[in-house]
């Protein structure tokens, strides 16, 4: 019994190899040849801008809270016009596992994943991306959304000026 299995096990691989010699290869000659990744491929992270050109990121810390490997850190602050923004924003890509939790958590669509997977570096510190490295000048996958037009606290539009808001109430009137 064992003898027959041994003989079969020695010959069968030759058969499989022989069969595959005539098949079309499934590997490609990377980096000369490149594949187009799927649209929802999760690789290098970007910070997008809203249609008016402002930074979408409001430094709400939700991405850093969602990040399972703690690779996102930032400091929030207030601009004179009342916009909340990140004074600095840092993603340590040498630690990032590209799970996409940050993009899922982002309430303003600021943080998005791109299919750009080619960014291995020799120096770990060059993989620490700052805000300037992450910011792009487009809206990424959704060009229309501007968070502050829905927030309802009057930063981009005047108070009560968004489409779903009534004008500010007059607290001094007693009329019904």
């Amino acid at each position: 019994m064992n003898l027959w299995r041994g003989i079969k096990g020695s010959i069968q691989p030759f058969g499989i190899t022989f069969r595959n010699i005539f098949r079309k290869p499934s590997t490609i000659q990377y980096p000369e040849q490149k594949r187009t990744p799927a649209p929802r491929f999760r690789a290098r992270i970007i910070l997008t801008r809203d249609p008016d050109g402002g930074e979408r990121c409001v430094a709400c810390y939700l991405c850093s809270a969602a990040c399972p490997v703690d690779c996102i850190s930032m400091q929030s602050a207030e601009r004179p016009d009342g916009r909340r923004y990140a004074t600095w924003f840092r993603i340590n890509f040498s630690r990032c596992i590209f799970c996409g939790m940050c993009a899922e958590a982002c309430p303003t669509l600021a943080i998005q994943m791109t299919p750009d997977y080619e960014f291995s570096k020799r120096e770990p510190l060059t993989l620490v991306y700052e805000k300037e490295d992450l910011l792009v000048d487009h809206g990424g996958k959704d060009n229309e959304y501007n968070y502050y037009r829905h927030a309802g606290i009057g930063v981009v539009n005047p108070r009560g000026g968004n489409p779903d808001e009534a004008p500010p109430v007059d607290i001094r009137t007693n009329l019904p």
Binding site: T87, D164, P167, P168
Partner: protein
Amino acid sequence: MPTLTIDNKTVTVPEGANVLEAAKRLDIVIPHFCYHEALGSVGACRLCAMKFLEGPAKGIQMACMVEAKDGMVVSTQDEGAVDLRKHVIEWLMMNHPHDCPVCDEGGECQLQDMTVAGGHGIRRYGGLKRTYNNQFLGPFVYHEMNRCIQCYRCVRTYQDYCGGTDFGVLGCNQRIYFGRFRDGPLESVFSGNIVDACPTGVFTDKTFRFHSRYWDLEEASSVCPHCSLGCATIPGARYRELQRVRGGVNKETNGFFICDRGRFGYGYANHPDRPRIPRIGDREVSWDDSLEEARGRLADIAHRHGPAAIALLGSPRASLEANYRLLTLAHHLETDRIAFEAHPERDRTARVVAALSDKNSRSLEEIRNSDFLLLVGADPLNEAPMMALAVRQAVRRGAGAALIDPRPVGLPFHAVHLPLAAGRLSEFLQAVCAGTFENFSRQERTILEGIAERLRRAQRPILIGGGDLLGAAGVRDLLRTSEKLSKEDRPCGAALILGGPNSYGAALLSGETSDFNGILDGISEGRIRALVCLESDPFTDHPDLSRSRSALAKLDLLIALDCVPTTTAEKANIFLPVKAPAESAGVYVNNEGRMLAFASVFDPGTPIRVTGGGDHPPRVFEPGTPRNPPMSAWSVLGALQNRRESLNSLRREMEGEHARLAGLASLDPETDGRRVLPGGGRFEIPEIPAIPTEEKAFDLISIQSLFGSETLSAFSPVLDPVRPVPRFLMHSADAAEIGLAAGETLRVTTDRGGFELPVALSEVMARGCLFIAHLKGSPVDLPFPGVRFAARVDRRKES
């Protein structure tokens, strides 16, 4: 004691408790907004619905409005109740903006939690959202009215609990608005409490605006270091920066709330000039070098001039452990020249309190439950604000309050005020003991007899005294009066406001040692050559600045341990940086004699905001924290004695040495603390020379101001906009006599030099008195609180 059943679990609660409290005891979480343990319930939010199956109430009711009764059977998971709660949360969310990412409350927002708990996820309402305009509420509180859900907690906190009058509810119908009636900053010094009370983000901490998320903060139970009451606080730190303080819960001291100095005075820990590296002269050195140098130079002085040439100065703002290690350092160096307070009169006052008050000492909780309060020489809003709130709660429950104080004291409650000159406070106390008021004018006698009568009739009376104005002798008289008025079935208590968070503890350790004046004399005469200052600043905290400065200049060696850039720290020959209160663990003994432990919140180091210059933090890896040498003061002092120990072993040693500190080692920061054991014995007050009274001389008294006097909060830039301006306060009739109008400049000449400051007038103060609010770090060398001297006044000559 009714027993009821909630969700098939049985619980017994005290009489008068409501069903929501009973459910809380069973750890059943029911969404609620308007109910708050300190504020009670009003049934405004309609969220705590439960189904009452058996008992006097039937059907779906608001649990906070139903008193627990025997035999009740309640279900929180009943289908109807769950459905009602779901609808209520949906309509509360109807006008709420979509701004959680830019709201500072996010993460610690009760509305977020309750929305999730209530099961509301998708917005169904398609109409327009109501919006409001915001108000500017001053430097501390940020207003975002769109987020409001009308639970009335802010009004109940600000008006009912804290006695503020400038903020409340306006409007009607769908336009209910919570804000100030006029433009301007919030006036109450308890305004920060509406930040804690608001269940959502209508009121947020402006000093913490957009700094951090709640979940990123390092927090721990701590004790407020700004006055002697020892309120519980919860400081929060991130990136090596103390970013905010919120009120903690200690039922025996503050309850739930804290004052604005405790909440917004935290900037000292992040002060840009905070010394963080050990120094010898101007040279920054390592810990080993600095300790070696300190040990060597102390040994050298002891060798050349004898051990008595070394003196040590502790501090009421240093922890009990640090002060104890200073005491053992004195034993180690074989010197008995040690004092625990740079201000000799405050030192004596604290020692009198530590020695004499034991049975009759009262906590803030007991003040809240008292039925008559007599304040003597106390200005609680400036000296210990939460004391004023405690008295207010008693007054709200029907207690009476009276105030004998020369100042025009503002109080958040109604009290009879008799402005009696500072020198007559002791006379008044003795008269209360004796029961006759013959030395007083007829008008005064009528008021005083009324007060004495109420004091006799009250069941739980408490005398409250301010240490600065009464002085040691006055405090002794007050404690004796409270003993005299006590009967077997009706004890009369006493509560005294002391100088610092650990004044009582420092006084416990001092025993019979000399005061700092003795040390200064020794330095002037050349007998004392070296001084070790633990978190104290004799250059600015001594009542006679010229005397202390000229003496201290003669020192051969000044060693300073501190966490803030004081004058002493700057002038020290050897400077040793120590941890700020929020960074180290320790124990304070508050004015009642209650040991309160606090935990370490974070490790010191230059904040990232500073190292990164506000921009990106550095991109280089470092094995250590930048500039983190500050050590706990007790461990630095231990190292000077070649000791290596843990905080626990130190506390056990202290417990063994001092019988009154029993229970110290097992003290937990999460608990309400523990009273020190009685047994102080006697403390003889040395004879203090009386103030020379001159004809036509005014009694110039330096008093505390809430945002100006205390050392640590003086180093908090956030408080700069609310600091008082230096000015004199005098009776309008006195001013009229010399032809002075409010706002004009008054020239005051004393034997310590002259001052020229504008004058403010008042009619509800004692005649012949002149007050000046102390301002730490002010360009004018104002005298320190607790100092009185004769002054001649006249109008400034116009040149």
